[in-house]
Amino acid sequence: MDISTQEIKRAMVMTVKGRVDSATAPDLENALKQLVDGEKAQIVLDLNDVEYMSSAGLRAMVSTLKAVKRINGDLRLCAPSPRVAEVLRLAGLTSIFNLYPTQAEAVDSF
């Protein structure tokens, strides 16, 4: 899994590539936590290149969403592959995350 972060307009955009599973989810959670700890509260997580995500990845995203909401921010998701979208839907998480088809739309939503 590779993670890169860049500031675009009013959002911090974190792009993730590869597999998010129980071996890699802690790295994702730590990277997100660093943004929240640095009070970067408007975060876009670009899932376009995430080929696979297990519940460990979902856990990392939910804990970040809770943390960022406490500082009046939001973690918004964009461009999930059909596989990742299925996992989100099955887990009942599509109602708690703001989900956008493209990175640009997610960024502009802030």
Partner: protein, 139 residues
């Protein structure tokens, strides 16, 4: 029927290897891409649970995975020597809750049940045995 078997130390980083092993068997069984993805998730969640809840951490035992690939059907047999585990005692997660009440616990078993055609658990001779079955045609 093609049979294969893999034994690895119970470490999170080995789950990817287990998934790759299962994907290979699923392709032999002729499963489609969606079904293969479902097998990966189910096996990943099962092995994560074994390490996290069964052994209580990494490097405390091993995981044995045997695959039997038939025509359009894959049977995955996962065994561990961790503490006894009662699959039936795990309640279904409460989904679509408000964020404050949302936890991601219990999702692993829920995913297994949703994504596989058969999920069965037994304990014999000090070992937990989880058998997952996926068939080519679903829904």
């Amino acid at each position: 029927m093609s049979e294969s078997r893999l034994i690895v130390p119970a470490r999170y980083e080995r789950i990817r290897q287990i998934c790759a092993f299962v994907v290979e068997a699923a392709e032999v069984a002729g499963l489609d891409e969606t079904a293969i993805f479902h097998c990966q998730i189910a096996v990943d969640e099962a092995c994560t649970n074994i390490i996290e809840h069964g052994y209580g951490g990494e490097d405390k035992g091993r995981i044995e995975v045997a695959c039997a690939a038939g025509s359009g059907q894959l049977t995955i047999d996962i065994r561990d020597q961790a503490q006894p585990f009662d699959l039936g005692a795990v309640p279904e997660p409460e989904l679509n809750k408000a964020l404050e009440e949302t936890t991601v616990g219990g999702l692993g078993i829920y995913f297994m049940r949703k994504m596989m055609d058969e999920v069965s658990f037994s304990r014999t001779d000090g070992a937990n045995r989880l058998v997952l079955v996926k068939r080519r045609t679903q829904e």
